[in-house]
Every structure is written in structure tokens, then in C-alpha cells.
């Protein structure tokens, strides 16, 4: 029966394949942080305008995800984690993803300009450009600092949300940016520590591949130290307060402690227990980001 299975009929895409092109899981982070940025901002928006603004920011984020999948299809085909994405799996053609990404980018920027303001729309356009061109096409394949600078794209959404409500930038929105910006590297490097072979096979210059795993461990710990002051500082601004500060202190102490543990380990220990500490750190990093933004939201609703 070998010769019958050798021929694979071209598959026709289902609706969910196009949804998958928009990277819904990354989108959920964009939606949440943009929503918090918009809600905690001083000027309130009409609920429907706020909903539309967050929706169009999310569509813009999804569009940049589709552009990323179009450009990265060759890498995605090599890495285990991404092999089942629509393009490498052969369900969606590359050109379709490109078309979808460009169309949705234009639509999202235009609609955000009409629903909120043109400053926020310009900011969204810049974010899409930054993620699709600066990160995906340029930095990702050329420097081990790809994650650090590319992280900026993921850090813009709360600033865009803030810009939707206020039409500008403030120290609070810059600190929300810093929180995600300095959180991204340790988050992804922890992932790279237990996914090393994947990035290696694809030839993506992750820090683990270019500088070794011990250097990566030190970088992870260093970033938890850099991150903490920004997280605490945010608590001392107009959108912070006792609830946020309590959560931030707890999460940062935990994050630094777990980062320290990751740094202290050797590869033998790591492989010995199947990267237990690294996986625990990665999981904590998810709670860390969610916790901070949820605390901002609670602080806003409860009041100072």
C-alpha cells in the first residue's frame, strides 16, 4: 500500500486553518494587554468603541502573525512545534497567507483610525511593520538578540490600547511596554532551553544555539533582575496602588528566585529531570505576565 499513500491529494483549507494563521494564542495575549492598557487609561471610552478598538488591535496582531507564517514557512516545516501549522502542513498556500495578512493589516489600521484615533492607528501600523519586517524578515534569522528586540512588537499592544483612550503616550504606558519588553527574553529563552534541538535544526540563531546554554541561563537570571524595578515602578504611578504592588512584589520575588534556580543548574541536572526547573520557570513566566496585568485591572476597578 506504500504507493497509494505516497500521493497526497492537495488539501482544501477549512475556516479554522485561516483562523490558525492569525496565531490565536498570541492574539489572546495581545487582546488582554491591549484591553488592560485601554481600560486603565484616564479617559474612558464608550464600551462599544473600546470593544472595537481592542478587536482591531487583535486583528492587526493576527495579520502580522499571518505575515510571519508566510515568511517563516521554511523554518516552520523543520521545527516539530510548528510543523502542523497551515502552510507547512499544505492546507493553505503561502500566497493566501500573504494576501490575508496584508488585507487584514490594512483593514485593522483603517478601522482603528475610524473607531479610536489616527495616532493609535499609526502605532498599530508601526507594530505590524516591526513584527513582520524588522523581526520576522530581518532579526529573527540574523542575531541571537532576535527575541530581545522582537519582543518590542509584543510589548506595544498595551501602549496602543492606552493611545486609543488618550491619543498619546504616557509614563504609565511606557512602563507597561517595559514590563512585557523585559519579560519576553527570559520567557522565550526558558522555552529554548527545553526545545533546543528545534531551533538548532531550523538554523534560527537562538542564544542557546550561538552562545551555549550556560550563557542563556545567566541571561535569564539577569533579565529577571532588570525586569523587577520596572514592574515595581509601574505600581508607583497613577495606575498602580497597594493591590498591584503586593502582587508585583510577590511575583517578582518568585520570578527572581526561580531564575536563580535555573541559572544554578547544569545541563546534566537539566536533562536528568527532563528540564523540570526550566519548565517550572516557563510556566511561572506565563502567570507572571497575566498576574501583573490582571492586578492592574483589579486595582483600576477597586480604586487606589
Amino acid at each position: 500500500m506504500a504507493d497509494t499513500s505516497a500521493y497526497q491529494a492537495p488539501q482544501e483549507a477549512e475556516f479554522r486553518d485561516y483562523v490558525a494563521l492569525l496565531k490565536p494564542r498570541v492574539m489572546s495575549l495581545v487582546v488582554f494587554t491591549a484591553f488592560v492598557g485601554l481600560i486603565v487609561a484616564p479617559n474612558g471610552l464608550h464600551p462599544l468603541v473600546a470593544f472595537c478598538s481592542v478587536l482591531f488591535i487583535a486583528i492587526g496582531g493576527g495579520a502580522s502573525g499571518a505575515l510571519n507564517m508566510w515568511y517563516d514557512a521554511d523554518i516552520d516545516a523543520v521545527m516539530k512545534r510548528t510543523q502542523s501549522r497551515p502552510i507547512p502542513a499544505g492546507r493553505v498556500a503561502g500566497g493566501e497567507a500573504l494576501g490575508l495578512g496584508l488585507t487584514l493589516s490594512g483593514l485593522a489600521v483603517m478601522m482603528l483610525g475610524l473607531s479610536a484615533n489616527w495616532f493609535a492607528a499609526g502605532f498599530l501600523a508601526f507594530t505590524i511593520f516591526f513584527y513582520a519586517v524588522i523581526y520576522t524578515m530581518w532579526l529573527k534569522r540574523s542575531t541571537p538578540q532576535n527575541i530581545v528586540i522582537g519582543g518590542a512588537a509584543g510589548a506595544f499592544p498595551p501602549m496602543i490600547g492606552w493611545a486609543c483612550a488618550t491619543g498619546g503616550i504616557a509614563v504609565e504606558s511606557l512602563l507597561m511596554f517595559a514590563l512585557i519588553f523585559f519579560w519576553t527574553p527570559p520567557h522565550f529563552w526558558a522555552l529554548a532551553l527545553f526545545m533546543k534541538e528545534d531551533y538548532h535544526n531550523a538554523g534560527v540563531p537562538m542564544l542557546t544555539v550561538t552562545h551555549g546554554r550556560q550563557v542563556t541561563r545567566r541571561h535569564i537570571f539577569a533579565y529577571t533582575l532588570v525586569l523587577a524595578p520596572f514592574a515595581i515602578w509601574l505600581g508607583l504611578t497613577s495606575i498602580g496602588g497597594p493591590i498591584y504592588l503586593a502582587v508585583a512584589l510577590l511575583l517578582n520575588a518568585l520570578f527572581i528566585w526561580r531564575g536563580w534556580q535555573v541559572m544554578q543548574r547544569t545541563d546534566e541536572q537539566s536533562y536528568g529531570d527532563h528540564h523540570k526547573a526550566e519548565k517550572r520557570f516557563f510556566k511561572l513566566s506565563l502567570y507572571y505576565l497575566f498576574g501583573h496585568f490582571a492586578a492592574l485591572l483589579v486595582q483600576h476597578w477597586v480604586g487606589a
Binding site: 488539501q11 482544501e12 485561516y18 464608550h46 468603541v49 473607531s115
Partner: protein, 91 residues
């Protein structure tokens, strides 16, 4: 002639795409309609009146500390009810 009744699995995929697109487009229409209603109700009236293509005093930006009152000595166009009521017709 006998109709082809068997449905290929491919048709199911196409249907999922078509229905998905229909839902997306209908929601988009509803969203734009809702957004328009909100914008008209909450928008600042000057920017909405601006689309009448005629400059009127209401369209000019309000200056701080300047209180605008109806004139004590209005000028009316000849033949209008105001002119008949006694307002002067020459500037």
C-alpha cells in the same frame, strides 16, 4: 439523469469556509452599524455638522471666556419673516 448525491469531504471543508466567512461579514456589518450609532450619539456635534459643506458660526471652535449672545440689532434678508417683523434689511 441521476443527480450526483454523494458528498465529498472536500465539500464539507468548503462549506465550513463559506459559513465562517458569512458569519464574519455579517458581524462586521453589525459592528460598523453599532459604531456609527455610537459615533453619531456621542460625537462632538461640530465635526458631524462639518459635513454639511457650509460654514456656520456653530462650526467655529469655541473660544474660552467669550460668551456668544444673540445680537440686539439683527440683520435679516429682505422678504423673510424676520424682515417683515421689523428687523433691518441693510447691513
Amino acid at each position: 439523469m441521476m443527480a450526483l448525491r454523494t458528498e465529498h469531504e472536500l465539500h464539507g471543508r468548503r462549506r465550513s469556509r463559506n459559513i465562517g466567512l458569512l458569519v464574519v461579514l455579517l458581524s462586521f456589518v453589525a459592528l460598523i452599524f453599532g459604531l456609527s450609532v455610537v459615533k453619531v450619539q456621542n460625537g462632538n456635534s461640530a465635526s458631524l455638522q462639518g459635513f454639511d459643506h457650509q460654514v456656520r458660526p456653530q462650526l467655529l471652535p469655541r473660544e474660552d471666556g467669550v460668551d456668544i449672545q444673540p445680537s440686539d440689532d439683527p440683520v435679516a434678508a429682505p422678504g423673510t419673516p424676520a424682515a417683515a417683523a421689523g428687523a433691518r434689511t441693510a447691513p
